[in-house]
Symmetry: C2
Subunit: 214 residues, 2 copies
DNA sequence: GGCGTAATTATACGCTTGCATAATTGCGCA
DNA sequence: TGCGCAATTATGCAAGCGTATAATTACGCC
C-alpha cells in the first residue's frame, strides 16, 4: 500500500499565481459574509472555503481588514460592471431603454438575497469607515447619474423639458433601491414580475410618460 | 482618612428592579451596535456601558443572543410607536395628513445615522434568522398598510377610485425607504428639506394628486 | 535534471470572547 | 433593627480569534 505512510504527512498543494489566489480568497470572504454575516468570515473559515491554510492569507493580505476591504471593492465594482453590461444590451429607443433598465434593476438575477445581504453588511460600515463611505458614494452616484441620463433622454424624446431631472433621478433611484431591498429581503412575498410591473407603472407616473411594459 | 482602605474593595452598587435593568442593558446594546456594529456589542462592553459588571447580564438574559433579540424587538416596537405618535399629531384633511406623514418619514429626527445603522444591522440578520424575518415582515407590513390607508383616503377625498392602492403603497413605501436610507447614509449630501420636497413632488405625481408642500 | 526561491503548510502565542460559578451585599419586610 | 434573599460583583475557564514565525515543498529556470 503506497498510501500507508507512517504519519499523516504534510498536506499537498498546488501553486496558483497571486491573481488567482487573491480572487479565491475574496470570493470565499464574500460567500461567508453573505451566508453568515461578517462574524462568520473568520480567517480560518475563509481559508477552509478557499481550500488553503490560514497562514496563506497573511501572505497576500497584511491584515484581515485589508482582505475585507478588497472584498468590498470587488463586490462593488462587480455590481457596477453588471449594470454597465446590462446597459449595452438594451434596445435603442430612449423609452424602451429606460424601461429595460428599470426592469433589470428589480428582477432576478439583480434581486437576490445574497446581494442584499452583502449590501446590508457593507452599509453597516459606511457610517464609520471613511474608505467604505467613499466607495458607497461613488457607486451610488454612478448608478444615479446613469439613471438620470436615461431619464433625460426619455424626456427629450417625448418632446419634454429636462428641468428637474436631478430630483427625478434621486426619487427614481430611491424607488428602485427600496423595491430591490424588499424583493431581496422578503423573497416569495411578491409575484414573479410584480416588482417589475410596479416599478414601470410608478416610473410612468413619476415622469408622466408612457413606458412600455414589454 | 476614611477612604484609605487596605484593598480596593468590592465595588458598591444599587439595586434596580428587573424592569429598569433590562431596559438599561437593551439601551446599551443598541447604542454599541449603532456606534460600532454588532461586533462592538460584546458582553463586557455592554456591561460597562450599562454601568454594571458582565455577570449581571446572565442574570437577566440566558444568553447574549437573547439580549440582542430583545434589543431588536425593542427597537422595532419603538419605531412603530413613533410612527403611530406622528400620525396622531397630523392634520385632519386627508391630503394634508398624507403629506405630513410623508414629510415626517424623510425628515429629522426619523432620518438619522443611528437609526439607519441599526436598521442595516438588523437587515443583515433577516435572511437567515426566522425570528428576525418575522419581526421585519410585521413592521414592514404595518408601515405599508398605514401608508396604504392614507393613500386610499386621499384618493377618495379627491373623488378618485381606489383601484391599485396596493401597488401604489408598495411603490410609495419603497420610495420612502430609499430616501430615508440615503439621507441617513450620506448626511450632508442633501439640502435641508430637499428630501421632503422630492418626496412630496414624487408622491404628487405617483398619485396624480396635488399634495400641499406645507 | 538539479537548484533556488517564492508559495504554501504547520505550529504556536497572546488576547478576547461568551459563559459558569462562587462570594458578597443592598434592601424589603417583620 | 436585624434577618433573609435576590441582585450584584468577582473570579475563572475553555474555545476561538487574528497574527507571527519557522519549516517544507512545488515549480520555473538555466
Amino acid at each position: 500500500m503506497s498510501a500507508g505512510q507512517s504519519g499523516p504527512g504534510r498536506r499537498p498543494f498546488v501553486r496558483i499565481g497571486e491573481e488567482g489566489r487573491r480572487a479565491a480568497l475574496i470570493d470565499a470572504t464574500l460567500d461567508l459574509i453573505a451566508e453568515g454575516g461578517p462574524q462568520a468570515a473568520t480567517v480560518r473559515a475563509i481559508a477552509l472555503r478557499a481550500g488553503v491554510t490560514p497562514g496563506l492569507i497573511r501572505h497576500y493580505f497584511a491584515t484581515k481588514e485589508d482582505l475585507v476591504a478588497a472584498a468590498h471593492e470587488s463586490l462593488m465594482s462587480g455590481l457596477t460592471d453588471a449594470s454597465g453590461a446590462t446597459l449595452a444590451e438594451l434596445p435603442d429607443t430612449p423609452l424602451a431603454r429606460l424601461a429595460g433598465f428599470i426592469a433589470a434593476a428589480v428582477s432576478p438575477p439583480v434581486t437576490d438575497p445574497r446581494g442584499v445581504a452583502l449590501w446590508a453588511a457593507s452599509m453597516q460600515l459606511v457610517p464609520r469607515d471613511a474608505a467604505m463611505r467613499a466607495v458607497h458614494e461613488k457607486t451610488y452616484l454612478a448608478f444615479r447619474d446613469r439613471l438620470q441620463g436615461l431619464i433625460a433622454d426619455a424626456l427629450i424624446a417625448a418632446g419634454r423639458g429636462t428641468g428637474d431631472t436631478r430630483a427625478l433621478a434621486i426619487a427614481g433611484n430611491a424607488l428602485l433601491d427600496g423595491l430591490w431591498i424588499e424583493a431581496g429581503a422578503l423573497p416569495g412575498h411578491f409575484r414573479d414580475g410584480e416588482m417589475k410591473d410596479i416599478a414601470i407603472k410608478a416610473f410612468s407616473r413619476l415622469l408622466q410618460l408612457e413606458l412600455p411594459e414589454g
